[in-house]
């Protein structure tokens, strides 16, 4: 369980790597905030895997329909951090 209330891009890229690896030729540490996930090499199954990890680590539930529209790291982070279900610190 995270001790922070906000999931950051660093947290997200770590979970992307752990859940689905890193595509050759893609630098997740670069400016990827607004790059669509499919351009980063993550298909729908990879996203399902990553979202499963987010839900387990942060104890939140994300709606399936919303996930379908969160097609960039920025959009997904906004969804996560406004879900109102991210537990408070401690």
């Amino acid at each position: 369980m995270s001790a922070t209330t906000t999931v950051t891009l660093t947290d997200l890229t770590r979970m992307l790597r752990e859940s689905a690896g890193e595509e050759e030729g893609v630098d997740l540490d670069g400016d990827v905030l607004d790059v669509p996930f499919d351009e980063l090499g993550y298909d729908s199954l990879a996203m399902l895997q990553v979202i499963g990890q987010i839900q387990r680590e942060y104890g939140i539930r994300l709606p399936d329909e919303a996930i379908a529209h969160a097609d960039t790291p920025h959009a997904l982070l906004t969804l996560i951090n406004t879900s109102g279900e991210v537990p408070q610190a401690g």
């Binding site: 790597r17 752990e18 859940s19 689905a20 690896g21 890193e22 595509e23 050759e24 090499g41 199954l45 990879a46 399902l48 895997q49 499963g52 839900q55 387990r56």
Partner: protein, 406 residues
């Protein structure tokens, strides 16, 4: 009809990773059978296995594929890469729909499946990998090879247990004959986890001997079952004309004949269908038994199965009339990978004109009447080989390989 030839080999075996390492060890009689280390087998009656050693997956598999593959598929992808490299084929020059993939499987990626099922019942469904949707599946090796190399031609998977490696290559040959220029085939298996182990113990055919050099002795009076291993071989099968056109660096041999049969139901008293499979494959190759220079035996290591195989061989060829060998005594039986590895071994045997030995069997049972190649390789310069395989459940398959002029 066009000839289907093998232009590339990729081998991952318990006694050698990579074709030449495997072949060198096989000719030297070096066995890969040892106490199982992949999991603790102490609570099971069988404790020996043929494990592929020295395979560091990260050196062969991109990080994107790591979470969605298990050991079996990683070995298969590496072997496929090697086989494609060995064939010298530039896949970018070939049409996507002109390349297919047909591999053999037994239980799928059971190690992956076991881990996710453990997650399911111990932690809950949220902990099951999304990749469980396909990563365990029987067709996973075919699928991953196909995706990785953009091979969209006719593809499939065959499940006939130990006979699968031959049945897959037989099926790949059909695709080549129907006009697909290149088909990746063979089989790689790895089921060295409890979920893969237990069903094989239930067959009653696994050896419970704990000494690695006494546990798997096919055609011996001391035969006491077999040892299971992991690994196998991937072959590149091509239309002979298109292989020639693209200037393939080598042709290991032609898949000249293939046949499969089923055994009669237990209790009918009728003999095994193995002889008929062998006979049909030899006929399919346009040969007679006299035209076969070496037999790579299925070599179950179970007395009644050894007896049935020896009867099929001597019935067809006569007593001690053809050299018979079982280099799988150095690897164990590799399930879906076993017959594919035997095909690769037979092709190397044709290439180098030498028959690799059956190890640990000091004296074959005289009653079987087999001329078993034991101890040392035999330099008889074979130009044709018959490979036999039987799968649990009554599957028989036979393949005839023939050396071609390069």
């Amino acid at each position: 009809m066009t000839a289907a030839v093998v232009t590339g080999l990729g081998v991952a075996a318990p006694n050698g990773l990579g074709t030449e390492a495997f072949w060198k060890a096989t000719l030297a009689g070096q066995s890969g059978l040892a106490p199982l280390t992949r999991f603790d087998p102490a609570q099971y009656p069988s404790v020996l296995a043929g494990e592929v050693k020295g395979f560091v997956a990260e050196e062969h598999i991109p990080s994107r594929l790591m979470p969605q593959t298990d050991h079996m598929t990683r070995l298969a992808l590496a072997a496929a890469d090697w086989a494609i490299g060995d064939s010298g084929a530039d896949l970018r020059q070939l049409p996507e729909y002109g390349m297919g993939v047909v591999t053999a499987a037994s239980g799928g990626a059971v190690e992956f499946g076991q881990r996710e099922l453990e997650n399911l019942w111990s932690k809950g469904k949220e902990y099951v990998s999304a990749y469980q949707s396909f990563a365990w599946f029987y067709a996973v090796n075919t699928g991953q090879i196909s995706i990785r190399h953009k091979m969209r031609g006719p593809s499939g998977v065959l499940l006939t247990e130990q006979a699968g490696g031959i049945d897959a290559i037989g099926h790949a040959r059909r695709h080549v004959r129907k006009g697909t220029p290149l088909v990746v085939s063979g089989g790689v298996d790895a089921a060295l986890c409890p979920w893969g182990w237990v069903p094989q113990i239930a067959s009653g055919r696994m050896s419970t001997v704990t000494e690695a050099d006494r546990a798997y002795l096919p055609f011996s009076t001391d035969a006491c079952g077999y040892v299971v291993g992991e690994g196998g071989a991937v072959v590149i099968l091509e239309d002979a004309a298109s292989a020639r056109e693209r200037g393939a660096p080598r042709v290991y041999g032609e898949v000249a004949g293939y046949a499969a049969t089923m055994d009669p139901a237990p209790g009918t008293g009728r003999p095994s269908g193995l002889r008929r499979a062998a006979e049909n494959a030899i006929t399919d190759a346009g040969l007679t038994p006299q035209g076969i220079d070496v037999v790579f035996a299925d070599a179950a290591g179970v007395p009644e199965l050894d007896q049935a195989e020896a009867a099929a061989i001597t019935g067809l060829f006569g007593r001690r009339a053809v050299p018979v060998t079982a280099p799988k005594t150095m690897t164990g039986r590799l399930l879906a990978g076993g017959a594919a590895l035997d095909v690769a071994t037979a092709l190397l045997s044709l290439r180098d004109g030498v028959i690799p030995p059956t190890v640990n069997v000091r004296v074959p049972a005289p009653a079987y009447g087999l001329d078993l190649v034991t101890g040392q390789p035999r330099d008889t310069n074979p130009s044709s080989a018959l490979v036999l395989a039987r799968g649990y459940g009554g599957f028989n398959a036979a393949l005839v390989l023939r050396r071609t002029e390069n």
